[in-house]
């Protein structure tokens, strides 16, 4: 059904565009809406991942340093610089280690570091732990691979669920818009062709579809701009930064959308005057 709707819309849109080039603006607007939905979908997924950050923060690596260790600050700095490490904090009162029953219990130590990693993926955690172990004066490295795996699995599941829900929403919106959209485009083309056959000039017969195309294009651009703006308000990742970059130039985007809308009539006049001869009895006409 989704394919049928998409093909129906595409075929009708192409037929309209073939005769009335301004309709490109409407079609561009349509794709702008879909692109905006896809972008905002990515932002939602990224937002979900970010909101899971709290869960990740409860997990980390405890590093117990020998009591006679000197240069704790230097060690802290060196560990912080490791790839995959988000930060390392000096902990006066180390967290109780009973939450890791399967790990080695360390002796009580006055010097401890709590290291948070960028990724909670068990393999990368293992790599970071190995790198920390290689530092001199590091006595014990404590973390729970099982807990890391559980957190990683939970986060992956939530991300997949969010992505699936968003995809479903996009499909539903596509179908909901495609079905009446197909009828609308066909109706526009039919009415334009009937008017042409009854003696209207190319310009007169193209006017309703042209205006609809221009308004549709401008509206599509405006919606796309709004969607990007809304999407830019969520999340805090690189994608979010990119979205924020786009929305920071919202005025420019809006101007672009309006420009497309106003450019349309010019394209229409050129296309209508030199376009293909419309046939109101074209057997292939939808």
């Amino acid at each position: 059904m989704r394919l049928h709707a998409a093909f129906g819309m595409g075929r009708a849109a192409l037929a309209l565009v073939r005769d009335y080039p301004l309709a490109w603006v409407g079609v561009v607007g349509w794709f702008a809406i879909l692109t905006a939905m896809a972008l905002s979908g990515s932002a939602v997924v990224l937002g979900a991942r970010t909101s899971l950050g709290n869960l990740e923060e409860s997990f980390g690596i405890h590093v117990l340093v020998a009591p006679d260790a000197a240069g704790l600050a230097a060690l802290n700095h060196a560990i912080s610089g490791l790839p995959g490490v988000r930060d390392a904090k000096f902990v006066v009162q180390p967290r109780p280690l009973r939450q890791f029953p399967d790990t080695i219990q360390a002796r009580n130590s006055p010097a401890s570091l709590y290291v948070r990693t960028r990724l909670v993926k068990p393999e990368s955690l293992q790599e970071v732990a190995a790198a920390i172990r290689s530092f001199p004066k590091v006595e014990t490295v404590v973390y729970s691979p099982e807990l890391a795996q559980r957190v990683y699995d939970a986060r992956t599941a939530v991300v997949h669920l969010t992505r699936a829900a968003w995809s479903a929403a996009v499909v539903i919106v596509m179908i909901a818009l495609s079905l009446p959209g197909t009828g609308l485009v066909r109706s526009h083309r039919r009415q334009a062709l009937v008017a042409y056959a009854l003696g209207a000039s190319r310009l007169q017969s193209a006017a309703p579809a042209s205006i609809a195309g221009a308004v549709g294009g401008a509206l599509g651009g405006l919606l796309a701009w709004l969607a990007i703006n809304v999407a830019g308000g969520a999340g805090s990742t690189a994608m979010h930064q990119a979205l924020r970059g786009v929305s920071a130039h919202g005025g420019l985007a809006l101007l672009g959308a309006l420009f497309l809308g106003t450019l349309g009539p010019l394209i229409a006049i050129i296309g209508v005057l030199w376009g293909r001869r419309p046939s109101h009895l074209d057997p292939g006409a939808p």
Binding site: Q191, V194, A197, L198, S279, L281, D282
Partner: protein, 240 residues
Amino acid sequence: MIRLVRVSYGSPRRVLQNVSLHLPRGSAGVLVGPMGSGKTLILRLCSGSLLPDDGSVLVGGSDTRTMRGRAQQRMRQATAFITTELPLQPTRTVLQNITTPLELRGTQRTRAVRAALRALDALDALSLAKAWPAELSSGERQVVVIARALAQRPLLVLVDEPMAALPSCHGERLMTLLSDLSAQGSSVLMASRDAELAPRDARIWQLRGGTVGPCEVIPHRVDAPRSALVDVLLRHVGPT
């Protein structure tokens, strides 16, 4: 008025093959043939909406292939096409549908409305004037399509299977109107599966296998008396 010179159309299947016919101004003609014989195709070629692959179609002395811009628009305005394939505009009332072609050519609104009402009256369909196309039956829609064509003061009337959706009681009335239009100087070309109903003194062409047989004239197929109402209509609707 209409001259087809060795017209061929269709690829790879030749629907029309070397078709030639001539319909002078002020005369009526009927293309008779089975389904798929190319009757409607000839009407489309005459309307200029299709161009022949070979040969030429001359309407009023001008080749449809070389017509451009304003000349093409004038030809469309002088042609009335009565067909179910040219539907009514759903967002306009019956009256507005009939006045549309008149307004497109710049006729004053009040004159266009008067012409539309006269055309509806001639078809006993005055009560439909304010109705919307969606409220009409298929027969009533066909009546409105005919009224729209008549109100245009056409020089050329192309009629495609008029009885396909028309109530039988309107058949003879339509033939009388078409006969009178041709008597007033319009050329009428009709496509039909049989020649049972035809305008007066119509030339009949049989189509078979993509070719046209010799022309024969069947006089006075319709003997319905011309009504006073039709006279009024023709005085205003006839070609100028």
